[in-house]
């Protein structure tokens, strides 16, 4: 090779042609390559192939993230930003209940939207596994996703009810520790959130797979978890 165009062989190398279409070959090498192209149909075809591939690759950028991804990110950020503080003995048993609500809410957000993924993959979310899908397979997968989402809603509701029962039991057991302001906040917050949850449940009874209603329900659960955390910290 004497000028960067690799003319030792019969044809120019694809690597050289790639640099040529980017205008990155030195002048002499570019002229030499162009001379070769003038006489070589195979290399001209390769240039066309490279240009077509570049154009097609650019179309791969046309992707849209799933709508739930932002909710996922918010939940993960909230989880990572949660402060770690010492807990009074009387409140310690309440943490699991609060954590249960948050975990259930997170589970709903992070519940698989695709097929089961390979083990050992990182991140909070576990939302599906690779695979190019036929229309039939995609339809079956959507049905499976919907079933999983409904199951996640059910689990979250169950966890929510358990947490509420735990909170009420704590209030009844030790009202001296809980300030009136906190109690009022509990009553007001629970009432508002329960109303929101009831509205979501009503919507889901009509349309069980309504992603917006599921997300709204999740948001209400998250709100509940936030309120519990706030009250617990206030009591500290």
């Amino acid at each position: 090779m004497n000028d960067g165009t690799k003319l030792d062989s019969a044809h120019l190398e694809a690597e050289t042609l790639s640099a040529l279409i980017e205008g990155e070959l030195p002048d002499a090498a570019a002229r030499s390559a162009q001379d070769h192209l003038d006489d070589c149909a195979a290399c001209r075809a390769e240039v066309d192939g490279l240009r077509a591939m570049k154009s097609q690759l650019a179309r791969l950028a046309d992707v849209t993230p799933p709508r739930a991804l932002w909710t996922r990110i918010e939940a993960a950020h909230a989880a990572s930003a949660a402060p770690v503080r010492p807990t009074p003995v009387w409140l310690r048993w309440l943490w699991p209940a609060t954590a249960l609500v948050a975990a259930a809410a997170l589970a709903l957000v992070l519940w698989p939207r695709g097929e089961e993924r390979a083990p050992g993959t990182p991140g909070l979310a576990r939302s599906g596994t690779p695979g190019a899908l036929s229309p039939l397979a995609a339809s079956g997968q959507r049905a499976a996703h919907a079933a999983r989402a409904r199951d996640a809603v059910s689990r979250a509701e169950s966890a929510y009810r358990s947490a509420i029962e735990g909170l009420r039991a704590a209030v009844e057991q030790d009202t001296r520790t809980l300030a009136p302001k906190a109690k009022a906040a509990i009553a007001r917050g629970l009432s508002e959130i329960d109303a929101a949850i009831e509205r979501c449940r009503g919507a889901l009874r009509t349309a069980p797979d309504d992603a917006r209603a599921q997300e709204a329900l999740l948001a209400a659960y998250q709100q509940k978890a936030d309120l519990l955390n706030e009250l617990l910290q206030e009591a500290m």
Binding site: E15, Q56, G120
Partner: protein
């Protein structure tokens, strides 16, 4: 750097600062501005939607937690791409010992005129050595120029160019093998 670029950089720095302080609207704005591009990058690097979502999630969470390292001397988008690239590399490193196939792709994630061609491209991308894949994804898929791609990769421009041309040559070979 032009005055407009400086102003844009200052805006991005302010937006990131607000997001880091817990401003939900700022976080959402950052996601709206960069989420789609980062998702596209991650999807083409790791080859499946589940792990691409993980990468984007970790990218933003890390940006908000450790955004103090962003000084506004580079484009915020490039800085976020660099985080996403590193997260993608971590995903691939963790995946390899499990034997999971890195070449699987999700044609359903794109809206191509020629689905078969897109699938062939995705499959070929998945078979490229990591360095080649990163270079060609940043340049040809994401549309970055050599300077930005080199910045994201943390290499010299010449190295980025060389990797790109080798990657294209290998892609052509892989696509030819698929015929």
């Amino acid at each position: 750097m032009t005055l407009q670029a400086l102003s844009h950089g200052a805006d991005e720095l302010a937006l990131l600062s607000q997001a880091r302080s817990g401003d939900r609207a700022a976080m959402q704005r950052l996601y709206a501005l960069h989420g789609g591009r980062l998702y596209g990058l991650a999807l083409r690097l790791v080859g499946n939607t589940a792990e691409a979502e993980d990468v984007v999630q970790e990218t933003f969470v890390n940006a908000w937690r450790f955004g103090g390292s962003f000084r506004g001397d580079a484009r915020l988008g490039s800085w976020l791409c660099r985080i996403a690239l590193n997260e993608s590399r971590a995903v691939l490193r963790k995946r390899r010992p499990t034997g999971a196939d890195a070449t699987e792709a999700e044609a359903g994630a794109v809206l191509p005129r020629d689905v078969n061609m897109m699938r062939r491209l995705e499959a070929a991308l998945g078979k490229l050595p990591d360095g080649y894949r990163e270079a060609i994804v940043l340049h040809d898929v994401m549309g970055m120029d050599h300077a930005e791609a080199a910045d994201v990769l943390g290499v010299e421009v010449g190295t980025s160019k060389s990797q790109l041309h080798k990657a294209r040559a290998r892609m052509r070979q892989l696509l030819g093998d698929q015929k």
